[in-house]
């Protein structure tokens, strides 16, 4: 089994997702089924092949680094339910 309790715990930590206890077994089963399907790629010899990270080669059109439009802070912060004086509120991090 590729993904056991220990691996799942580590993945939960890395991805910062709390996993409910009642979900663990089903999640492990599904993840292992998926990894078994994925493991087919291990049988393919492609050492000499280049990686393809983007489907359209050489197409990165960066625009000039100037402000083209403003989204004001007030309208942007409306999407958060905890702000004060233009800041986002989070639980205390420094004692």
């Amino acid at each position: 089994m590729t993904i056991n309790d220990k691996t799942l715990e580590n993945l939960s930590k890395l991805s910062k997702i709390k996993i409910d206890d009642n979900l663990r077994d089903k999640l492990k089963e599904d993840l292992n089924l998926t990894m078994n399907m994925i493991d087919k790629i291990n049988k393919i010899d492609c050492d000499q092949i280049e990686e393809l990270s983007h489907p359209i080669k050489d197409n990165f059109n960066l625009r000039e680094d100037v402000v083209s439009e403003d989204i004001n802070r007030e309208s942007l912060q409306k999407t958060s339910n905890k702000t004060e004086d233009g800041f986002y509120l989070v639980p205390k991090v420094i004692e």
Binding site: I3, T7, L8, N10, L11, S12, L14, S15, K16, I17, K18, I19, D20, L23, L27, D30, L31, L33, T34, M35, N36, M37, I38, D39, K40, I41, N42, I44, C46, I49, E50, E51, L52, S53, H54, P55, I56, N59, F60, N61, L62, R63, S68, I71, S75, L76, K78, T79, S80, N81, K82, Y88, V90, P91, K92, V93
Partner: protein, 474 residues
């Protein structure tokens, strides 16, 4: 006249000839939508604003050229940000999200004069093939309510099939426009990666995601695609290329076609119905006197495992933005900042989204990066090269859209069985290639689809062959 059953082209003509008004069109649709609420197609709607806009459209003096879709109602997949209107992406995480800006696709369609009736339900963050991963519950297939409409753009496909609009927007990361189009008996196009701006389109897997159109037929899809295509400086992967006149090209007699076939590969699946429908599609091409050529796509079956490394890896990075602080769901009763992250993400994401983030995290984690992510990118190159080679001899490739018809809601519980839904559609995403689904054939009284895949930026030729195929013999 049943205005809601008209095609987009018929609506454009009817409005121009003043056979009916935009207000009448919108009112008609509202009445249909309210009658068929049980299909669970809309996440939100804004009928009042739609009627206001329709009134303005009816009084507009702008030319057809300036506003090609003037007064035409339409539906957006709820993945496209709409300023001030809830954009949930089918997730509890974004159930409270009212974006401060609109997606380029949304702006372009507004500028073209169209009127958004509502936002269509979808699989959560576009991760799913049946619409069952939506926080709002699954959409029902209008052709048979026990069946799935497909996913992830299931709401968009069902909207067109149920006559909620003549066309809708969708997105396609591994087949999310083409598979639901096939399941609902309509047409769909995913253009070349970069043809349509991704700005304001909520990200799932950035090197695969592409916006497109679902419509009653290919001609209508071409008209709408024309309106959303083009370079956008807000998307660094947007392609700087002229947008041809898709709707004219779609019906042109200038295009020469050689359609690539993979008959042996289709037979190798051992599914008689699949082979039979593919064979009948070949017969239709022959009757239309369209040249064909057998080709090889030796790595096609590797698309599935490659996709399920690359898409989750990109999704795990993209979805790290949901931290419960700046926007989206925020958990209550937390002990500290770390706890806020864990609980917000644990409670805000659904199970399928969690699964894909965890798979992606695993494939990118220390010690596994080379074995999974790097390797998948190499095989992606092999699959893409198969198409580059094929396009030396052919102008498009014909494949089934799906291996079967729409299945019963709740009938697939094995995740890998569900992922196999996309075996024929994923290759086009891996290669960034444009692809359509055209309704063709049926099984168990449900529609099937045939897929055409074109070369990079060759949407005109692709739409042309798809339209010819859909119209059949003259």
């Amino acid at each position: 006249m049943n205005l809601e059953t008209l095609t987009l082209q018929e609506q454009i003509d009817g409005l121009r000839e003043k056979k009916f008004s935009s207000v009448e069109l919108v009112e008609n649709y509202i009445s249909v939508i309210e009658d068929k609420e049980d299909l669970n197609i809309f996440v939100s709607n804004d009928f009042e604003k739609a009627l206001e806009k329709a009134k303005k459209s009816d009084g507009s003096k702008k030319s057809q050229e300036d506003v090609p879709l003037n007064g035409i109602p339409m539906v957006h997949k709820d993945i496209f940000c709409t300023k001030g209107i809830k954009t949930s992406c089918g997730s509890k995480m974004l159930d409270n999200f009212y974006p401060p800006y609109s997606a380029t696709v949304v702006e372009k369609l507004e500028q073209a004069g169209s009127i958004c009736l509502g936002k269509a339900n979808m699989d959560e963050f576009a991760m799913g093939s049946s619409n069952e991963t939506s926080f709002y519950g699954a959409v029902k297939n209008p052709l048979n309510i026990k069946k799935t409409p497909g996913g992830s753009s299931g709401g968009s496909a069902a909207a067109v099939a149920a006559n909620f609009s003549s066309f809708s927007t969708g997105t396609d990361t591994g087949g999310s426009i083409r598979q639901p189009a096939s399941f609902c008996g309509i047409a769909g196009i995913k253009p070349t990666y970069g043809r349509v701006s991704r700005y304001g389109m909520i990200a799932f897997a950035s090197s695969l995601d592409q916006g497109g159109i679902l419509a009653k037929n290919i001609k209508d899809a071409a008209i709408a695609l024309q309106c959303i295509s083009g370079y956008d400086s807000k998307d660094a992967t947007s392609i700087k290329a002229e947008v041809p006149n898709f709707s004219e090209d779609c019906e042109s007699s200038e295009f020469e076609h050689v359609v690539g076939l993979v008959t042996d590969l289709i037979h190798s699946f051992g599914d008689e119905d699949l082979s039979k429908n593919y064979g009948e599609a070949i017969e239709r091409l022959e009757k239309l006197k369209i040249k064909t050529k057998e080709i090889e796509l030796p790595n096609l079956e590797l698309s599935l495992p490659v996709y399920y490394v690359i898409a989750p890896a990109e999704c795990s990075a993209n979805l790290s933005r949901y931290d419960g602080i700046r926007f989206g769901y925020r958990a209550e009763n937390v002990e500290n900042l770390e706890d806020l992250y864990f609980k917000s993400r644990g409670e805000g994401f659904g199970n399928e989204t969690k699964k894909r983030i965890l798979i992606g995290t695993y494939c990118l984690s220390s010690g596994f990066y080379d074995a999974y992510y790097k390797k998948a990118q190499k095989i992606r190159n092999l699959i893409s090269s198969d198409f580059v080679n094929a396009f030396k001899d052919v102008t498009s490739v014909m494949l089934p859209t799906t291996s079967g018809e729409a299945f019963d809601l709740g009938s697939i519980t094995d995740p890998v069985e569900m992922y196999k839904q996309d075996i024929f559609t994923i290759p086009a995403n891996l290669g960034g290639l444009p692809a359509t689904s055209v309704p063709f054939g049926e099984k168990n009284n449900m529609p099937l689809g045939i897929q055409f895949i074109g070369n990079i930026l060759e949407e005109s030729s692709l739409l042309n062959i798809s339209n010819k195929f859909q119209l059949g013999e003259k």
